[in-house]
Symmetry: D2
Subunit: 434 residues, 4 copies
């Protein structure tokens, strides 16, 4: 999931996992609808910053994807719902022509939320015919469209959260469900590394985005990785120890970012009396000290690791390869992931294994820049636009979060954001040399 | 009506014109409601630029005024509708405490439009008791509050227009009513000037804002003033003659503004084939060549006058004193002014006299900086906050516009904006030395 | 003297005062040379902000003026010293063609200071023939060029001061000469006003810039004006009383300027232990409490007057007309003005009359916007470019300063700057209604 | 060599190569002096952009390094030349205390160039004693100081070039020496890759900066690398083919950069009639079509490679590991590198081997982000400040340039800049998958 918006990614294979395309399509589309159900027309329209998009835009853009790449291209005689929508709801596909400027998305009060919902229904009806197709190209595009929509489900949640956070009254989107963390002691899990296979294996596995491959070998030195993400309680200690005011822990760009923006805590943390609270989708809440820290930038993650090296020698961020290798046997469908519309906030879940929360809860920053794997090639045309074009200046995150739809995740998944961005559910898990 | 928002201005006297305070109060408040009737929740929430405010904010802020200065201060036992609203809907009264940052007004999706309408109804009900008061201080504050609300009615219209103009689909707020201009030939009306009285006479006239006085003498040299405002047709000629690309016509600051913003026509003019159209509250429309040009900055008005001096020697903007003196006998309630909710666009109205559209249609830029009249003093406290504080960098406009509520205008009225601003219905009327 | 650089102004008449054009020319040109004598090549090249110009640029630009309007236009066969110089050293005369961008002036390390000095000498030699001319047009242009150069002498001083102030080592340009102020008690001088003549009388007086006329009548109500400018000591009291943190004293734009720039004292004031020092052309120095406060913006001047109204009811800035009328009989050549190169810092001079420092010491902000006098017209062509074009957004200052060359000043003189600018020797003198 | 200025890097060992420390010290220091010999005081003072520093600053900063880490710490009784200099000429060592703001470096007209030269001489004299020391820590610091100064020699040249390029008269620093390129046909050199050793081997090799190690294994797939860098002639073809206007070739950030800055050619290329010229240290010159293209950003390099893939399938930037491995047997001291003060401009040199210009001529962008090698640790204290802290957002460049002092380069060298920066002598060499 991208800074610029969910980047469209290529289907690597037409996996057999789609046992029932219609059911799968409906499940995904209905979850999107459910997530926006509590929103007013205004909630769905306002854009809180250039990085974020209005909920209405997400609703329409994901439908535009199906309308354009499936209905227009594969349903003879299909008529566009509204000719203006291609301009309004294309995200960044240059090949698809002119589009509305991203920072102006919040100016579009018309079409209304209800009209956009009609648009979704219109597309869903027209898709019924397409979903019956046996054409592998069509099925691949449907799979791609659904994975694309799942990415936007997560962005929907984080963009709405950011927008509500601008309101000094701190509105709540859902009632608190009382879920809390299971305290998990920190342990170091050792790996001997060596020559390991990294990336998605197009021959065997199911769907993946193009940037997850080709699978290739990497050399890993022995390392240890923490059994759970860093917690809010540990982050309090970092703050209390002057972590945000000691330049020695920070990347140079990070230090400049701290100074310029007067950063002193994760995003959404608020001073409350002598303690901290944080803004969530259920309003302002006390901090859960056992929960994974979230809404931190790569700069903060890196500074924390540097500070933590005072306690655990050589503590650092894992590389992408280390993370993927260490989690190779973990259940990608376990953990705290998005199953239904409702209060989304990161907790430390219970775990059956030594490893806690490898998938779900919070995205984990790695120390790896987001760059192409060896022999990676972008595909041709608009659908192939692009993962490649976002491969500068960003870092990779792994493992998904509490806002990632269950089923969307895998070890080879490469999420990426700029090092200062932190409105996603971003956290970290430490690694060390051994 | 101010750049920063409608500035609160002092009641100069408790004029007897309020024959029926309740009827008057209801008339004003209902017009505000009617103006926002066509708006969706999203339309009423989005803020299109820092200079503008969301419609919802105007609805709430004008009510906050009555709640604060009348209900809180003069209705024993009154309980605020919502304790957060004072923070959200105070505009710029420093004495009234902290307030929500102006550029963030568009983030407030909650309260909803319906909740703000409830707030208005709640205030209106509570005001019934207050409106029965005979206390002159109370009656003065009510008059002030209603004049304040009328200013916001005009801002409501211009702010909505600006917001809709950001939408590439150009939504219409109302149906076009087909009103068109009556062509009016340009004539020069001569005045001998001499020592004249300028400003509002607190002893005799009705309500006025504090900055309109004290009345004082000015010396005017003989001058002529045009019988009507400059038209769209004349402005086309200015453009066709290279008016926007000849530095000689422009103030130095204006030329920099033209270059930086690539200005080539009034705000809302759009290229359409080989002609111009302009965006209005009824959507994109052909230009009415006989209508007064509008949505121009002081810089453009001044450059036009300089260019027009090639045709009429010594053409220039009138001073505020000249304008006020020349219009002293005109009917301030005549002309195209706001009577009801409906399509608002400037036309050249018919005229019974030699002078066309002295009041209404478009605000007319003068060449006078907005500075205090001799012996002007700001009043004490929040209500006296302020006209004085806006008296730097702005120019005076006279005469009201098609969006000014009828009854709100008079010759001494001093509207003011920065010289680059043009989202109000701003135009110009030429003057010359004789 | 202008924000954008010294604006070229029209000769109003070819006054007979130039008894010896050659001597007068040499006197002015040599003073310019002497003022820059202490500068290194680097000192003369660096530009400290967009508002300021490098000393080398002033040296060359004033010569370019003579080269262009006298030598090129009135000396047959004259060859330009260097063809690049017209591009590099034109200031803002659009009619004279393309020119080097103002903010890039500090990039011009070549030509060197020595080469620019050669340029001056070259122009001076060529001017000998022109100075012998009896052609009134030529004599008027020479007078204009010398007045233009005098304006740049003052800018040279203030621009160098600003540049040195950026150096944390606070270099001194000259040795301190030990001059200190003569304490002067504040008295109020009353004027009855009435109909008075304001502006330069082209029929009788000597040289003036075009914007100083036409002479015209103004009506002045009775007023009092202070016998001396506000002092550093009084400014300390303003600061101590919280003047910079009480919004009630400030224009709205001024308050925003204070907040954004964290203003807490006049420009060049520095905290030193528990006291203040200020940077001068002789380095950091203790404050002279009896000296006129200087390096203040219009915003600060206006806020001080508002604060002072607590002590003197109705205290305010004088209007331009009041100031000019009150000083009509004062000796414009008396007071602390620039006679020779050497330490320039404002003091309160001794006075023979009731009025102290009406001319010299510090420029005095008025409450008048810089706008044209009635029937003012700009002249044709490049030399007539322009005073008119600077007539928006700026305020008038009167009376000259310690950096104004003696002989350059008169009561009708209209200096102008934007309300936030304060790198000139700007101060204020209070007025009141009576 | 860094964006933020030459970053201080740790000595990896006290290599025996320093056969005569005094001679080596003098050789490096004298070259710095010679490079700045043609500069005027002003040339040496002005700062042309935030990324660059004045020549005077480089002269002083490199001396401050020796004064601080050698003289202050290792020469008993040493007195600082000037106590202000530590503040003025520290670059970014937070541990060494407060320092002058980088963007303000161009304001420091005092000390003068001559005073800074005196400072250098003073330090050189005092260093004589230190250079005689046998203390390995001292010898390591001297080696570090000299490598640090060599980095600043290159920055000196590129910063001066950038400053002169701002002058519309395009001054020349040196006379053109007539050196031109030897045309070299493009060939593809194949490598089988496999498990290879990358990075500096601290046990065996000489001096290196800390970030060049630890040496470690990488897996390389088979690849081919071009026998020479991309040429100006090839770049013309890229431009002619619309390379700067076809979004498909560009990284998303790169495309935004092109649009915002209206980029249409490498830095310093100028339209000249219907052809291109480029600004060099010998002034404006015709393009040498056989010379390596230079002054390009990573974005441009990447876009070129994408475009070139139309001709050579799979063309792309090499990774850092590929580049280092492919050049492992090349002579690091051969090619066009800096030997003496004189005209510096990139040419295609003659070559004895299949590989042309592996070292020297132009820095070659790689596709690798600048991140730490496995088990890299920053050292303690100010000298260890830092390479680590610059490891976000930047890309690695390899091979040195025509402005890199001969002897300073090696295959493991890691230069790094942000992807938009291009005022260094930056070029590219293509690679391909095979």
């Amino acid at each position: 999931m991208p800074a610029q918006s969910t980047k469209l990614k290529l289907v690597a294979d037409n996996a057999a996992q789609q046992t029932d395309p219609v059911a799968q399509y409906q499940r995904v589309r209905r979850l999107t609808n459910a997530l926006t159900e509590p929103l007013s027309d205004a909630d769905a329209t306002v854009q809180s910053m250039e990085d974020a998009s209005p909920a209405k835009w997400h609703l329409a853009h994901t439908s535009w994807f199906f309308e354009t790449f499936l209905l227009r291209d594969h349903l003879p005689g299909y008529r566009a719902f509204d000719d203006d929508f291609a301009f309004l709801f294309n995200s960044y596909y240059e090949a698809e022509g002119a589009r509305h400027a991203r920072p102006q998305r919040g100016m579009i009060t018309r079409p209304t939320l209800d009209q956009v919902r009609d648009y979704r229904a219109h597309v869903d009806t027209a898709m019924e015919t397409v979903l019956a197709s046996d054409d592998p190209a069509v099925r691949d595009l449907v799979t791609l469209g659904l994975n694309h929509e799942q990415q936007h489900q997560e962005l929907l949640i984080t963009d709405i959260k950011h927008m509500f956070a601008q309101n000094p009254c701190f509105p709540a989107m859902w009632e608190n469900d009382g879920q809390t963390s299971i305290p998990a002691p920190l342990q170091w899990c050792e790996e001997q590394g060596g020559r390991v296979a990294i990336g998605h294996d197009a021959e065997q596995d199911g769907f993946a985005f193009d940037c997850e491959g080709p699978q290739h070998g990497q050399l890993l030195a022995p390392f240890a990785i923490a059994s759970r993400p860093v917690t809010n309680g540990e982050w309090r200690a970092f703050i209390a120890d002057g972590g945000y005011s000691d330049h020695r822990h920070w990347l140079s760009d990070g230090w400049a970012w701290v100074k310029e923006n007067e950063i002193e805590a994760p995003l959404y943390w608020q001073h409350a009396d002598k303690d901290w609270q944080h803004f969530t989708l259920t309003g302002l809440q006390p901090l859960d000290d056992d929960a994974p820290v979230t809404h931190i930038s790569l700069y903060e993650a890196d500074a924390f690791a540097s500070w933590a090296a005072g306690q655990w020698e050589g503590a650092r961020l894992p590389t992408e390869g280390e993370w993927e290798y260490a989690m190779r046997d973990q259940d990608r469908n376990a953990g705290q992931q998005l199953d239904a519309a409702g209060p989304v906030h990161a907790i430390m879940p219970d775990s059956d294994t030594e490893m806690t929360a490898p998938f779900g809860s919070v995205w984990e920053w790695t120390g790896s820049a987001y760059r192409p794997y060896p022999r990676f090639r972008s595909a041709e045309g608009a659908v192939g636009e692009y993962n490649g074009k976002f491969m500068s200046g960003q870092f990779v995150l792994k493992g998904g979060s509490c806002a990632t739809p269950r089923g969307h995740m895998r070890a080879s998944y490469r999420n990426f954001f700029y090092p200062h961005q932190r409105w996603q559910f971003t956290g970290l898990r430490l690694a060390r040399d051994i």
